[in-house]
Amino acid sequence: MSLINYSSREINCKIVYYGPGLCGKTTNLQHIYSRVPQETRGKMISLATEMDRTLFFDFLPLELGQIRGFRTRFHLYTVPGQVYYNASRKLILKGVDGIVFVADSQIDRFEANIESLMNMHDNLAEHGLSEEKIPLVMQYNKRDLPRIVSVTDLEKELNPQNHPYFEAVAFRGNGVFDTLKLSCKLVLKQLG
């Protein structure tokens, strides 16, 4: 839920990276953190287990600077992907302005993508939200691996609504900024 403060002239928006376990959500944020100028990014917070699996969320604030007199910030969150952390996922979706769904392109993870997408719909519905109201960008990650599903099949099964999509290799940074940029723009378009 974007917050516009007309007195301090600030706009804050929330973008959530959603997707199945180990699909590369945290990797997206880590790449963004490593590449944006220091004055643009805040502290990255990761509430992770000892095994580096996201337990609650990762959080990265980004500051665009002054736009027409408004200090504009994006708060990026990831959800924990593992099935049994659904309570946490639901909490993080609260007040979301934009979603990036990171799908794992590997054949073995095809079902996990579908399950995660259905779970996202259920959780959005519990907040009275739906895919139609929240700008969604799809990211088909791990395109460099062998044994992956074709983009045509991913599109058919995961994206019947034709949301914009990008192919990505998040750990190398391919597609990461394209995805982020489009998501930010779609969120701001809703405000303007």
């Binding site: 917050l3 007309y6 963004i32 910030r73 708060h75 609260k94 701001l188």
Partner: protein, 167 residues
């Protein structure tokens, strides 16, 4: 403005500011913050804290959200206040009007009892301001976008996004 979003206008901001100032003084707190339940900082006053307030706000909201789920599990509708007591610094958090969180950071110069008492009074005052604000927003949500955020804003934001976010 997108339905469901919320905006803070000049007069409400100053009304909130005044309540927070008075709470900080009367409770002898170090600083007082108001945070939206989704983790966005609304206002922070008092000593500039030696930590990142943006991250702090996100964690405070997550703390509250997690505790609300715990409350539900034990059959409570909500835990309306939370206290984190340290040896030197402590935190008192209270949810107001179901949408914002009041956070008081205090040290050993004051007591939890006093903070709790003053926070309760401040939360009644804040509730009045916020309810007025939400009523106003309900009305404004029916209108088109506020004049200060228009097509120019989106265009300028887009070019800023393109120049900042790139490999």
């Amino acid at each position: 403005m997108v339905k469901g979003n919320w905006a803070l206008f000049e007069e409400d901001f100053w009304a909130i500011n005044q309540i927070l100032q008075s709470l900080m003084r009367s409770a002898s707190a170090r600083s007082v913050m108001l945070i939206d339940k989704t983790g966005q900082l609304i206002n922070s006053i008092g000593e500039p804290p030696g930590f990142d307030v943006t991250s702090f706000s996100s964690l405070a909201a997550a703390d509250f959200a997690a505790n609300a789920q715990l409350a539900e599990m034990v059959g409570e509708s909500d835990f309306s206040t939370l206290v984190h007591q340290g040896t030197k610094e402590s935190l008192f958090l209270q949810v107001i009007a179901g949408r914002v969180i009041l956070v008081v950071l205090f040290d050993r110069k004051t007591s939890l009892g006093l903070v709790r008492l003053k926070a309760r009074r401040a939360s009644d005052d804040l509730m009045n301001v916020l309810e007025r604000l939400f009523e106003k927003l309900q009305y404004r949500n029916e209108e088109v976008a506020p004049p200060s955020l228009g097509a120019d804003f989106a265009a300028e934001a887009e070019s800023e996004i393109d120049s900042l976010f790139r490999d």
